[in-house]
């Protein structure tokens, strides 16, 4: 057992305040999410937190922990090496309550880049046709397909902070992932959307997105790959 103080930035629709909780951590291996759940169980059931899988795959529990955007369920006490933990909602997002933010705008941006296979609709629903994809074709986009849409990169990006319409790393990464898929034929359509001031060209190469990504997706790199493909006038990135 070890005593930890968690300081949480709260919001109830009207006012914002900081609240401190003291919890006993059963071990060093517990996650910040475990501790928040413990607070909810033992001290304050009104604390709002979004979580589900607790295994860093569903993308629910993004928040800012000791000044860094992270997944609460993936951040262990032992890594923080601190007796004092501060937790606040993800930056660059509207807060709904406490640590729960509105990710709708992020999802809307993702939707703008047409994040799905674009080709003749008949081919998609004519079910016995196989598009056949080779392992090396898969490798081109596999890593970028591992985005769990947690929004942490959006929270860390300095451009998103000041430029509301900027599509941002989460959406642009999706633009790359779908265009680089050998089954897709939508690159031309997507270029129209991302070859714009609020598209790839607003990116300042801060790379904070890639630094905070909990899945090693490297959205900053996919933005550069998109730029390169456009400059080369390639058939697909």
């Amino acid at each position: 057992m070890k005593s930890v103080v968690i300081k949480v930035k709260r919001y109830d629709g009207k006012k914002t305040w900081w609240q401190e909780y003291k919890v006993e951590a059963p071990s060093e291996k517990v996650s910040v999410l475990d501790l928040l759940v413990k607070v909810k169980e033992e001290q304050d059931p009104t604390l709002a937190v979004r979580y589900s899988c607790r295994m860093a795959i569903c993308g629910s529990c993004g928040m800012v922990i000791n000044g860094v955007p992270r997944l609460a369920c993936q951040t262990l006490l032992s890594e923080l090496k601190a007796e004092f933990i501060t937790v606040e909602p993800m930056w660059n997002h509207k807060v709904i309550k406490d640590l729960v933010v509105d990710l709708e705008p992020d999802f809307e941006k993702v939707k703008k880049v047409k994040p799905y296979i674009i080709r003749d609709i008949k081919e998609i629903y004519e079910t016995d046709k196989e598009f056949g994809q080779k392992p090396e074709e898969l490798d081109k986009y596999y890593n970028f397909a591992y985005c769990i849409q947690c929004g942490l990169c959006m929270s860390a990006c300095p451009v998103v902070a000041t430029h509301e319409r900027f599509l941002g790393p989460m959406a642009l990464n999706a633009g790359y992932r779908w265009s680089a898929d050998s089954r897709d034929q939508g690159w031309k359509e997507r270029v129209k959307i991302i070859d714009a001031e609020e598209g790839v060209w607003a990116c300042h190469l801060a790379y904070t997105c890639s630094a905070v990504c909990p899945r090693g997706v490297d959205p900053g790199f996919s933005i550069q790959l998109l730029k390169a493909a456009m400059l080369r006038k390639a058939k697909r990135p």
């Binding site: 629709g13 059931p45 899988c53 295994m55 709904i96 799905y116």
Partner: protein, 575 residues
């Protein structure tokens, strides 16, 4: 108060729900997907191993009939055999559909699907996307759904009530967490795809939102549940978090050892050892713990070790990357030189809302509640019987999701939503919830009650059951039901009130829990996942029957229904 009108309302946005939405939307229906999670975050996203489908019968000498047979045998012959046939024939089409919307299936160098062999399957017939199959499926289908202008997603909406009147479905009432209001959805057709209820138990591989309240709500609406006593325990969940370590580990050669370093499976399943069926391995671990041969974790949980130290490290890194990651993050061990602490945890509900093989939801007499379908883990189509085979569930979700979605859209055509009926239901629900929020009430906390529920379920509805344990658990459950009326909600707000959500969930969970315990008590035999120390054998003469549960005068009642044995006679289940 707002009542929105649609042709089809789908409850749940896991694989089953989204597949239903796509199928209905393609037939031109206006579809609302009402779901309590945000975004693509339903627990289908955490499925690891893969999806069973006979995609290349010639490559492996496989057939649809063989897939169906394996499913029937795996389910210890409590399977409705025509449902297994439907699964086997339809699953390959779903794999192709998912391929066409962008799921990056693993492929062999010739461009065909790579296949894995799962427990109980007699051929390699499980397609997969690394060890993150569910993740890739959910990412693709969620985005695909968002591309339809006639599908509207209502996320973080907890459905609290199914509106059924005069033997027909009319819509649902939901609590919109983000706006803090109730909303009605009126539609002539509905599909319930709310997944499993692992969180009724203390240790589960499921996410926090898999609470299973809809089983209870469905009974309240006059629907019947079936085979709820069959709850699958996965043998290797990480201690203490319950995060799943995939069966792939043992398929790659991992051992299970007790605290004396002994590969104890040799005493339980000398031939298949670690690769015996899930129920057998889970029971073995349980018994080792009982005999004091397990390790004890600092949390008090007993566990055994999963040992991969004799495997080639390079191969492990290649094939089991997620295992390495999860063990490190959630147990703080490096499996390459330490044991991974594992123990069984609740993983899947074979039972659910009783449907026919087309997925139509039935009442206790087997009559269709017109306009309503159920699909995915929430449903009991009869396909899994007493035990589900690994990788059959994603197939089930896609197959019955589509069948239900298509049928619902066809049914809705030319029918009008009954907005007034739903408006009434919203009003009634509004009053009920206001009552909950205003209740001064005693000192019970919802999380406290939930903890008690989880403990009693492990006692009376666990891996090994007995009459005494189930009776005792049922008694405690009755007590909990009483105390639920004394629960205090300290959060007075309406926006994102998690306590309110938890109380509403608990109401449904307690009803669902009662069906599990009742079934555990009444079924005097051992079959598949249901194991009774006092009746250790399968008894086909008395118990080759489904259990059916329903509410009558507010109480859970049960009756039996025959199993559809159309092709294969029951035989001993040996592996």
């Amino acid at each position: 108060m707002e009542v929105l009108e649609y042709d089809v309302v789908v409850v749940g946005s896991g694989l089953a729900g989204l597949r239903a939405a796509v199928a209905a939307a393609l037939r031109g229906a206006a579809v609302a997907v009402v779901t309590k999670v945000a975004g693509p975050r339903s627990h289908s996203i955490s499925a690891e191993g893969g999806m069973a489908a006979v995609v290349h019968p010639n490559k492996t000498g496989d057939s649809y009939e063989l897939h169906a047979y394996d499913t029937v045998k795996g389910g210890d012959f409590l399977v409705d055999q025509e449902a297994a046939i439907t699964l086997a024939y339809e699953a390959p089409k779903e794999v192709h559909f998912l391929d066409s919307i962008g799921v990056p299936w693993n492929k062999d160098p010739d461009g065909t699907f790579s296949l894995r062999q799962f427990g109980g399957m007699s051929k390699p017939r499980t397609v997969f996307a690394k060890d993150k199959t569910g993740f890739y499926i959910m990412s693709a289908i969620y985005k695909h759904v968002k591309g339809f202008s006639n599908i509207h997603l209502y996320e973080e909406h907890l459905v609290t009530r199914l509106v059924v009147k005069g033997g027909a479905f009319h819509g649902v009432v939901a609590y919109d967490m983000r706006r803090g209001e109730l909303r009605g959805f009126a539609a002539p057709a509905g599909v319930v795809a709310t997944g499993g209820g692992g969180r009724m138990y203390r240790l589960t591989t499921m996410g926090f939102l898999n609470t299973g309240e809809m089983y209870g709500y469905a009974m309240r609406a006059g629907l019947a549940l079936r085979d709820m006593e069959f709850v699958q325990w996965h043998p290797t969940a990480l201690v203490p978090a319950g995060v799943l370590i995939s069966e792939a580990a043992r398929a790659e050669g991992a051992y299970l050892v007790n605290r004396h370093g002994e590969r104890f499976m040799k005493r339980y399943a000398p031939e298949r050892m670690e690769l015996a069926p899930r129920d057998v391995v889970s029971r073995a671990i349980y018994l080792e713990c009982l005999k004091g041969n397990g390790f004890v974790h600092e949390s008090g949980l007993c566990y055994v070790g999963l040992d991969i130290r004799h495997l080639d490290p390079e191969r492990v890194k290649q094939r089991l990357p997620l295992l390495l990651e999860l063990s490190k993050t959630y147990a703080g061990v490096n499996p390459l030189n330490e044991l991974i602490p594992v123990r069984p945890a609740v993983h899947y509900f074979m039972g659910g809302i009783m449907t026919d093989i087309e997925g139509r939801a039935l009442d206790r007499d087997g009559n269709w509640v017109r306009g309503l379908w159920a699909a995915g883990e929430a449903a009991s189509t009869g396909v899994h019987g007493a035990n589900r085979l690994g990788s059959n569930s994603l197939a089930e979700c896609a197959v019955w999701g589509r069948l239900a979605g298509e049928a619902a859209a066809a049914y809705a055509r030319g029918r009008r939503p009954a907005g007034e009926l739903v408006a009434e239901a919203v009003k009634a629900e509004e009053e009920r919830i206001n009552g909950l929020l205003r209740r001064e009430g005693g000192g019970e906390s919802v999380r406290g009650l939930l903890k008690e529920l989880q403990n009693l379920m492990e006692g009376g509805g666990g891996i090994v059951r007995s009459e005494r344990a189930s009776v005792e658990a049922l008694k405690k459950l009755t007590d909990l039901r009483g105390r639920l009326n004394n629960v205090r909600i300290s959060d007075g707000g309406r926006i994102y009130n998690m306590e309110l959500r938890e109380v509403l969930e608990l109401e449904g969970m307690l009803l669902a829990a009662e069906t599990v315990l009742l079934g555990a008590l009444l079924r005097q035999e051992s079959r598949g996942a249901h194991y009774r120390v006092d009746f250790q054998n399968r008894d086909d003469r008395r118990w080759l029957v489904h259990s059916v549960y329903f509410l009558y005068g507010g109480n859970v009642m049960t009756k039996q229904r025959p199993v559809n044995v159309t092709r294969w006679m029951p035989e001993a289940r040996r592996y």
